[in-house]
Amino acid sequence: DAGVTQSPTHLIKTRGQHVTLRCSPISGHKSVSWYQQVLGQGPQFIFQYYEKEERGRGNFPDRFSARQFPNYSSELNVNALLLGDSALYLCASSIRTGDQPQHFGDGTRLSIL
């Protein structure tokens, strides 16, 4: 069975631009969470979606938004990109909200120039 898949694998943007990252959860998983991992640090929680509803939000500005689709895939959007947004963006899925453990994809590496 396929694991969590994310696209694209690598993206280069310039300051002020907008970016959309995509995630497909493991088949049968209905909960998707997004994390930001800056180089040399552990992942930081951004959002959780379950059944298309936001169920949790980390300490990130409103420039970050997300949504979940009827097939449980998800998009993370970041507006007005800053240099500090350069990071590995990880998606994790689980069967339902409150379920542990979660399984991660390999992430999208976002570089801001």
Binding site: V4, S31, S33, Y35, G40, Q41, G42, P43, Q44, F45, Q48, Y50, R55, G56, G58, L90, A92, S94, T97, G98, D99, Q100, P101, Q102, H103, F104, G105, D106, G107, R109
Partner: protein, 114 residues
């Protein structure tokens, strides 16, 4: 102060040695404890998962949770060069309000030398 503290390393051991990793935490609401392994340019890969206190063993890996001390450990026996990676501890509270939010340590870089 961070909710979860983890020594960044690097931790260098000879092949065949026991690797000992640990994390401390401050949030007494944490009930789920996980260890992930992360290779360069890859996502975290689940190694061990424990609910509440106790020990769990899986092959060469042993995870321990001491909630009274707010301290968790991971031991890797008979370490191999392929175990060279960054090891992340992660924790979560229980219940609907907690959702799926994981709080991670900063990761410990491990190098197993042949």
């Amino acid at each position: 102060q961070k909710e979860v503290e983890q020594d960044p390393g690097p931790l260098s051991v000879p092949e065949g040695a026991i690797v000992s990793l640990n994390c401390t935490y401050s949030n007494s609401a944490f009930q789920y404890f996980m260890w992930y392994r992360q290779y360069s340019r890859k996502g975290p890969e689940l190694l061990m998962y424990t609910y509440s206190s106790g020990n769990k063993e899986d092959g060469r890996f042993t995870a321990q949770v001491d909630k009274s001390s707010k301290y968790i450990s991971l031991f890797i026996r008979d370490s191999q060069p392929s175990d060279s990676a960054t090891y992340l501890c992660a924790m979560s509270a229980e219940g609907r309000a907690a959702g799926n939010k994981l709080t991670f340590g900063g990761g410990t870089r491990v190098l197993v030398k042949p």
